[in-house]
């Protein structure tokens, strides 16, 4: 441990922060939500269940946590990662005290909600985990920080270390990295599917055991109370959207994950085994995956309803919910004043909040289209699929092409239908290579799960 602490000589704190932030930025998770913890009147920090964004970087992503690596030294050679050992770039390592001081001073100034600490593999997984543990231990016990902490569990590390770290963290994550074992084998020769799933399972059982313990003893220490998350890289390997979504679904079902994050692949290493992506990272795919992910978690959809083997890619023009609705016109229109919540949730333009508000508001009086607007329903998209007291808002044809034309905005409409092409035919071209840019507005709505 001592020799490690002597390592970082010569670099200023600013240089280290720059290097180790730059090295951490491709990890997309930056939320601080899911944990409600009041202050104790003495120590610094609390945690707000809704999560708080403190700033937004020039790529439009939320800055909520001090997201850094403890070190970008790494003995592994993952081909997609800029920190791989064969890459020649400046290396740096924080001391645990430096991480703690930065966290405390940033937090006091309200720059951040807390810390997201990850690391390259220094020497071996257990050694690295030990460093993460020591840093968190210091932060919680010496610096007495009560804010949010997200930490990576390092696959292959001593389980006992992972367990002890879990009692200091609000969230833990192990990155799946690539959706399939084959992809992992091709691009991350030192990582194995099994060694990734083992700590995931361990954290899952830890959370479950802790829940039972807390039910018995209210004062028992909390273990990863904000749940577990993971990240999948999209577009580095040839898996389809359908495969990725199925992986996500089984992670939610079998590993009780709180969140799966999708990261559009950015080719930073220029490795020949990786796609060059001249059109930039596959942001539309990533966007559609996030939309589908909301549908799985909050709208009662199953992955198999959204995609299948024959249609393994998301639609370019329509979001997954619109696409589902257009392919299931037999389920519409839905009568807003009577339909159960589950049915309302399937209407494009009615989000989770608006669906709940509809159910509450229609108890007092039958709702009209004007009321729906007040409630927050996006009528522009919902009109095709709903009636109020048996009436459509205006006569619309319940017919695929007409609806798609109405749902897509002007720019996309030109591509569709210009030479007599129907929506069905066009869908055949959704093979994952056909793309379009994602507008800022869409991305914003996507981040909030408004579908």
């Amino acid at each position: 441990m001592m020799e490690y602490l002597a390592l970082g000589g010569g670099q200023s704190l600013t240089e280290k922060l720059q290097i180790l932030t730059d090295a951490a930025k491709y990890d997309v998770a930056c939320t601080s939500s899911g944990v409600e913890r009041k202050g104790n009147g003495r120590d610094m920090g609390n945690s707000i269940a809704a999560g708080i964004c403190h700033s937004f970087s020039s790529d439009g992503r939320c800055i909520s946590l001090l997201k850094i690596l403890l070190t970008n030294e790494c003995i592994y050679d993952c081909r997609y990662c800029q920190n791989r050992c064969s890459n020649d770039l400046p290396r740096a390592t924080f001391t645990p005290e430096e991480v703690c001081t930065l966290t405390m001073e940033f937090y006091r100034r309200n720059y951040i909600e807390g810390l997201f600490l990850s690391s390259g593999i220094l020497r071996d997984p257990t050694f690295t985990m030990e460093l993460l543990y020591r840093t968190l231990w210091l932060l919680r016990n010496r610096y007495r920080f009560r804010g949010y902490v997200h930490v990576k569990a390092i696959p292959g590390a001593e389980p006992e270390l992972i367990r002890r770290t879990g009692f200091l963290a609000d969230r833990m994550s192990v990155n799946l990295e690539l959706p399939t074992a084959a992809g992992l084998k091709a691009l991350a020769p030192n990582k194995h599917r099994k060694s990734i799933l083992t700590p995931m399972r361990q954290i899952q059982s830890g959370i479950l055991a802790n829940r039972n313990e807390l039910a018995l003893y209210r004062s028992a220490p909390h273990f990863v109370s904000g749940g577990q998350s993971t990240q999948v890289i999209v577009g580095a390997t040839p898996e389809s959207d359908w495969q990725i979504l199925n992986v996500a679904e089984s992670l939610y079902q079998k590993f009780d994950l709180k969140r799966v994050f999708y990261s559009a692949f950015v080719n930073v290493t220029g490795d020949k085994a990786l796609p060059a992506l001249p059109g930039g990272p596959p942001l539309l795919r990533e966007h559609r995956l996030y939309q589908a992910d909301w549908l799985l978690r909050f709208y009662g959809f199953r992955a198999s309803e959204l995609l299948d083997e024959e249609r393994p890619y998301f639609n370019v023009l329509l979001d997954p919910k619109e696409d589902w609705a257009v392919r299931h016109l037999e389920c519409f229109p839905v009568e807003v004043n009577r339909a159960p919540l589950e049915q309302l949730l399937r209407v494009p333009g009615i989000g989770v909040k608006s669906a709940r508000r509809i159910v509450a508001a229609r108890r007092s009086a039958a709702l009209g289209f004007h009321d729906l607007k007040k409630i927050g329903v996006v009528l522009k998209r919902a009109v095709y699929f709903i009636t109020c007291s048996g009436r459509l808002m205006y006569p619309v044809k319940l017919e695929e092409d007409a609806i798609v034309r109405g749902l897509t905005d002007g720019k996309d409409r030109v591509q569709f239908g210009s030479d007599g092409m129907t929506y069905r035919q066009l869908s055949l071209f959704d093979d994952g290579s056909f793309s379009r840019p994602v507008s800022a507005l869409e991305r914003q709505a996507g981040a909030l799960g408004e579908l």
């Binding site: 708080i52 970087s57 439009g60 309200n110 720059y111 950015v266 508001a361 009086a365």
Partner: protein, 260 residues
């Protein structure tokens, strides 16, 4: 029509509501306003703000409508909308008449008064949530933290408990430069508000005498570097950044200020 004329504050409006219920007014023949307007057939009656009555109204709201909805009513009153008093009064009267369960005060969104109060509360809540993240404290001499905001809603009273809970042992000031109100939190003690404090709560640049600490500059630089390094160049999208972090907040934020 009887119109109670209230002071533009939470106390003012709550005291008005108290009066309307004390005198068992019919809500269809009663209104609350902040300013006298030339209305025919309206009789105006001024209401003095009263701390005790405010507390009693607050307790009733909490008991009948639950914490979340009571907070929403307070948030609606932080708005600058001239119709806020009437919207809140109408919503409370509607809720009491319906005998609604806690958490269901705003169910009746098709009703325009309820919808108005709901919209006001939602807009205020949004800004409050933004500011919980966007407030920036700078460290002054003697380790005092100092933040300045210029919000659309009157939110210092809502922000102070939030920061007092997370920074209990810090001295901090949160100054609303638009309304000239300052929240003061002495370490380990209860916070309070000071009105009309003006240049007493300003840095030299803004005509005041407060001085930054030695270390402050270093942390500001560190944070600026952090914000730049965390962005992914290949995903550059300033429009999205602007949607998520509207320009009006930026003049008060460390990472957007020009380095002095």
């Amino acid at each position: 029509m009887l119109i109670y004329l209230c002071e533009d504050s939470l106390e003012g409006v709550f005291s008005g509501i108290y009066k309307a219920f004390e005198e068992k007014r019919d809500k269809n023949d009663t209104a609350l306003a902040l300013q006298e307007e030339p209305l025919l057939f309206a009789e105006y009656q001024s209401v003095e703000p009263d701390a005790d009555r405010t507390r009693r109204v607050m307790n009733t709201l909490l008991r009948r409508f639950g914490e979340e909805d009571a907070l929403s009513l307070c948030l609606a009153l932080s708005s600058e909308d001239p119709g806020k008093a009437q919207a809140v009064y109408g919503t409370v009267a509607d809720g009491l008449r319906r005998n609604c369960r806690p958490g269901h005060l705003f169910d009746n969104l098709a009703e325009s008064t309820v919808h108005k109060a709901f919209s006001l509360a939602r807009a205020a809540g949004r800004e409050l949530h933004h500011l919980q993240g966007f407030v920036r404290f700078e460290e002054l001499e003697q380790k005092v933290l100092y933040g300045v905001i210029g919000p659309k809603h009157n939110l210092v009273t809502f922000l102070m408990p939030h920061f007092a809970d997370r920074l209990p042992m810090e001295h901090f000031l949160l100054y609303d430069a638009v309304r000239d109100i300052c929240g003061v939190h002495p370490a380990g003690a209860a916070w309070y508000l000071q009105k009309g404090s003006g240049e007493r709560f300003a840095l030299p640049g803004a005509g005041g005498t407060l001085r930054l600490s030695e270390e402050e500059k270093q942390y500001q630089t560190l944070f600026r570097h952090f914000c730049q390094a965390i962005a992914i160049r290949e995903r550059y999208c300033p429009e999205l950044q602007k949607k998520m972090l509207p320009l009006r907040y930026r003049e008060y934020m460390t990472e957007w200020k020009k380095q002095s």
